[in-house]
């Protein structure tokens, strides 16, 4: 059975902090940081926002675009590494707020930054086998870097939601295939009870991000028999702008193909939200017949690749909810002390 995207929606909190502002506090020169990461500012969640609230807003937008009765959704998976509770699902909160309950199955997923795309794959399986009519997968995070750590310049907040279905006339993006590449690679981790993640420094590059993204991209293209020229757009995981552009160029993609999927320079790394958000920006701009290659990456490590073709229905649904670029442009800058307060680093 053919399965595909029948609805999508995104959400980005309105607060931003500039790399200059973080660098100022730590006595660093911002220019080499901006050049090195290709990140200029990042989103910050409000003090009343978290992965659950971001997921609900993204989910509402996906339901608006899909025009689907929420009670027809048979599964909800939320991929994140910043679930609000250590024990108690985020997905039940979101399912209740989106009025999907009680006839559905829910679970929270974790796989560093690729848990959102893992949710899409699970929904594809459930919908494709006929077990459920529609499945909803959300990738969302409110990522935190330890104050003073390199991650602090990029760890951001946001998320996007995809509804997977199989009715031909409802599909806006047919998922032609998916392929994953997974190994045990300890490039980034956080132990139970510790507030901030640790990373393997230089180890996060070659054997981790690049190896998995490249192999997943090559793997899916080999399987379907495509080359980079067959795609109108591509999007990759984007912990920073530099890794993204390097991997896109290495694989043989051109700027006009990879440009619209890259949001990190003005958004930061939204972890599980990164590829879902980049893909949503492509869908906002896409037209019938456009072909997209999307490859996520999660530390630990694995990559999920998707080959998607847009249908004529994309034109009909794209304006039904706020576009990702509009959410990115709507912003309010905060300074470092307000940032610390909002991120709950100051206790009252």
């Amino acid at each position: 059975m053919k399965v595909g995207i029948v609805g999508y929606g995104s959400y980005i909190p309105k607060y931003r902090i500039k790399v200059e502002e973080i660098a100022r506090v730590w006595g660093k020169d911002p220019e080499p940081i901006k050049r090195g990461l290709m990140v200029y500012e990042k989103s910050v969640p409000g003090p009343d926002e978290d992965t659950a609230t971001i997921s609900v807003e993204a989910g509402k937008n996906a339901l608006k675009r899909g025009g689907i009765d929420p009670r027809d959704i048979g599964a909800l998976y939320i991929g994140s590494e910043s679930h609000p509770y250590a024990v108690k699902p985020t997905s039940t909160i979101v399912a209740e707020a989106l009025e999907l309950t009680p006839d559905l199955t829910c679970a929270d997923l974790e796989f560093a930054c690729k848990a959102g795309t893992a949710g899409i794959q699970i929904c594809m399986g459930l919908v494709g086998s006929g077990m459920i009519k529609y499945g909803m997968a959300i990738g969302a995070d409110t990522a935190q870097g330890a104050p003073g750590d390199a991650l602090e310049y990029t760890a951001a907040a946001g998320g996007a939601c995809y509804i997977i279905g199989s009715k031909r006339k409802e599909i806006i993006g047919e998922i032609n295939d998916t392929y994953s590449f997974t190994t045990d690679t300890p490039d980034f981790w956080r132990r139970e009870g510790r507030p901030y993640p640790k990373h393997g420094g230089r180890f996060t590059g070659e054997p981790a991000y690049f190896r998995h993204v490249i192999n997943a991209a090559k793997g899916i293209m080999e399987r379907i028999g495509t080359t980079p020229e067959d795609y109108d757009y591509c999007v990759f995981h984007q912990p920073n702008g530099k890794f993204y552009i390097r991997v896109a160029k290495y694989l043989g993609f051109k700027e006009e193909q990879y440009r619209d999927g890259l949001l990190t320079p003005y958004l930061g790394n939204t972890y599980s939200g990164a590829v879902p958000l980049g893909l949503s920006n492509i869908l906002d701009r896409g037209k019938e017949g456009d072909r997209i290659l999307a490859v996520s990456y999660g530390s630990g490590a694995g990559s999920d690749a998707f080959d998607i073709t847009l249908t004529e229905r994309i034109e009909e649904v794209k304006d039904r909810a706020p576009k990702t670029m509009d959410l990115l442009r709507r912003k309010e800058y905060i300074d470092y002390s307000v940032y610390l307060k909002y991120r709950r680093c100051i206790r009252v």
């Binding site: 909160i93 009025e99 709950r344």
Partner: protein, 131 residues
């Protein structure tokens, strides 16, 4: 505390009130009896659109302990399109709010029972953005 807030999840998460089938009036928070029709009234769940206008507001500069993080903040009475008026926080700067401001519902954290307790979620409102 946990049970009391759990019982109100439908209201707080989804803005579900009640509508009297007899007179058509809509209530939020929901009621068990229509005060106009009394025993002739018949109430059913009614989903509110989440759109409305600021009817009145106040800026809170001296908040209760658990809301210190977000002060100063705007508390308003919002008149929903369907008629009911509800008290809620508006997510905007104090200088942005005005009477008649079009607002729409958002899902947010409302408060938490300390570091170990439950996180309470529910509705707040934000200014309607020009599309």
């Amino acid at each position: 505390m946990v049970v009391r807030s759990w019982r109100h999840i439908k209201e707080r998460y989804c803005l579900i009130g009640t509508r009297c089938k007899t007179c058509g009036r809509i209530f939020f928070p929901s009621r068990n009896i229509c005060p106009y029709c009394r025993r002739r009234g018949e109430l059913e769940d009614y989903k509110l659109s989440g759109r409305g206008k600021v009817y009145s507001y106040s800026v809170v500069h001296v908040p209760p302990k658990e809301l210190e993080m977000i002060a100063p903040y705007v508390i308003a009475i919002v008149e929903l399109e369907e008629g009911p008026r509800i008290t809620t926080q508006i997510d905007c700067k104090p200088e942005e709010v005005y009477i008649g401001m079009p607002v729409e519902v958002v899902f947010r954290r409302i408060k938490e029972d300390g570091e170990e307790g439950i996180i309470h979620y529910g509705y707040k409102f934000k200014p309607v953005e020009n599309q």
